[in-house]
Amino acid sequence: MTVPVAPEITSAPQVGRPRRGVWHRLIRRKLALIGLAIILITVLGAIFAPWLTPYDPNEQMFDGLTLEGAPLPPSAQFWLGTDLLGRDLATRILYGARTSLIIGIVANGAALIIGALVGITAGYFRGWIGSALMRFTDLMMAFPALLLAICLAAILQPSLWIVALVIALVNWVQTARIIFTETSSLAEREFIDAERTIGAGTPRILFRHILPHLVPSLIVWGTLGISTTVLLEATLSYLGIGVQPPTASWGNIIFENQTYFQAAPWLVFFPGAAILALALAFNLVGDALRDILDPTQRGKA
């Protein structure tokens, strides 16, 4: 004889509460703090670029080259030296921050939205649409992402927005897989069943109950994704198929100047350091956020 067991009712996990302390926990981590500081400096530099430098990013200065026509090394007048056209490198790097941040936010935002839509649709509705979407995601995983991006960018006559689009088309895959896994496990939870029994419609379940639970993942992967995006933009621009000169981008500064690289290595290393710093910053913050927001990771680090 079996004893009837009362069904355990799992209450809906609290949403929002653990997030209250996120900011405080974030700034208590040394590495995350370094990351936040770098991001803040970059954002301020990008916004206030015209006031921070006396030069124009595209101004080819007469006194910006040696008499032989070579770029100038760092000096009191040109803090980071000048490039091969006699433009102030520090100014170009400041304006290049705008390019990196715009692409980082636009391309990564688009990738996040595509990834979330695909992941939620596949995870919640399942069925043939779900499996078709996930098979397509598997297929995208088999593409070498950089090669695909290079192909697209090279053939599409790149502009800032095309570069952002190309990066978004390549980078949504990871997000889609993570959101799919989370959505499909959420969709099976009892509190979602309970919602359905009391007659909640699909939009209500999706927006009130599924989406809020995905927010931590979206924040974490959104932050880490900016780092990938910044690196991909720099790489495409370095190959000459990303953001096109004269618009300054950290990658295309290196692309334009690399012929002078042995004689004037600062032309490669200053913009290179800027790319590294920004990508590093978003990685540090994203990793700290993952530790804080993802309960399965808690206590591991």
């Binding site: 040394k30 590495l31 098979r135 397509f136 598997d138 297929l139 995983m141 088999a142 593409f143 070498p144 992402a145 950089l146 090669l147 695909l148 290079i150 192909c151 697209l152 090279a154 053939i155 599409l156 006559q157 780092s227 690196l231 720099a234 790489t235 370095y238 190959l239 990658g251 290196i254 690399q258 690289f261 042995q262 290595p265 490669v268 290393f269 290179g272 790319i275 590294l276 990508a279 590093l280 990685n283 540090l284 990793d287 591991k300």
Partner: protein, 306 residues
């Protein structure tokens, strides 16, 4: 096991088929016209039209794709539009250089990554640990072309220890493989650290300590072999990361591999080569993932193949 393998192989073939359709469609739809590239600017419309017919590019998309696919089954990847030789020959000639580069990269990423991870795990929580983990973040955040140019400048131009480009001796191999391996070293150091920390928590390590073994013996004989296996099992997945990286690294160092072949082909809209390299890369990625999945249960018997 056999059934699993058979199913995975069928899946892999389907994925590759999908990759070929998507790549073919992308290259077909994109605005650049390969015929214009081949014929040159001064060609008459008649010549352009002749070349188009000759290459079969006047046919509808599905006809073109079907012909490509039927040739592919017999191992024929078509002819390069510009170099006038078989794509399979061109790829076969360049593949050894790229494979060599990847082997070098695997060597460096394991050497650097595993060492960093082990030291960080042993010194867990210390300043050494934090510095190493910051270092691993730097590794995954550094653009490969910047690392490449930096290494070139320091070890090639300034110190003169290694050649600044080209191919041939082991000296030529060092800088490009180090450049390609640094990204992976960043990931491996983090995986190795957490794997080692997990192992060091196990009861049998406490037993070993209790019976009076030295610290070195515990680490090397008991902890390391168990901690290192799951990390090394990830090598298969690296192949996908390498396949993108070689385009950049080979172009920085003038390394004559398939990355450069692809990059040149992309600039000249040499579609058969782009298709060929993409398919070879996709094959490598799919095989790498398959390999990683197959070795997993041997390393951790709790994992079951499904």
């Amino acid at each position: 096991m056999i059934a699993y393998l058979a199913r995975r192989l069928v899946q892999s073939v389907l994925i590759l088929l999908g990759v070929s359709i998507i790549t073919f469609a992308l290259l077909y739809l994109l605005p650049a016209d390969p015929v214009r590239q081949i014929a040159g600017r001064s060609a008459t419309p008649q010549t352009v039209e002749n070349i188009r017919v000759q290459l079969g590019l006047d046919q509808p998309f599905l006809v073109q794709y079907w012909r490509y696919l039927t040739n592919l089954v017999t191992g024929d990847l078509g002819r390069s539009y510009i170099q006038r030789s078989e794509v399979s020959t061109l790829i076969a000639a360049r593949l050894p250089a790229s494979l060599l580069l990847m082997v070098g990269a695997i060597f460096f990423e394991l050497l650097i990554g595993l060492t960093m991870g082990i030291v960080a795990a042993v010194k867990r929580g210390s300043a050494v640990d934090q510095t190493l983990m910051l270092g691993s973040f730097v590794g995954v955040s550094a653009p490969q072309f910047v690392i490449g140019l930096l290494l070139l400048y320091i070890f090639g131009v300034q110190l003169g220890w290694f050649p600044i480009g080209g191919y041939g001796t082991w000296r030529h191999l060092v800088l490009p493989s180090l450049t390609l391996g640094i990204l992976g070293a960043g990931w491996y150091s983090r995986m190795m650290r957490s794997s080692m920390i997990d192992v060091l928590r196990q009861d049998y390590i406490r037993t070993a300590r209790a019976k009076g073994l030295t610290r070195a013996a515990i680490l090397l004989r008991h902890a390391l072999p168990n901690a290192i296996l799951p990390v090394i099992a990830m090598i298969g997945i690296d192949i996908g990361i390498f396949m993108g990286g070689i385009v950049v690294v080979e172009s920085v160092f003038g390394w004559p591999g398939i990355g450069q072949l692809a990059w040149q082909a992309i600039q000249r809209v040499d579609i058969p080569i782009i298709m060929g390299v993409t398919l070879v890369s996709a094959c490598a990625i799919v095989l790498g993932n398959l390999l990683a999945d197959i070795v997993a249960p041997f390393i951790d018997p709790r994992i079951k193949l499904r």
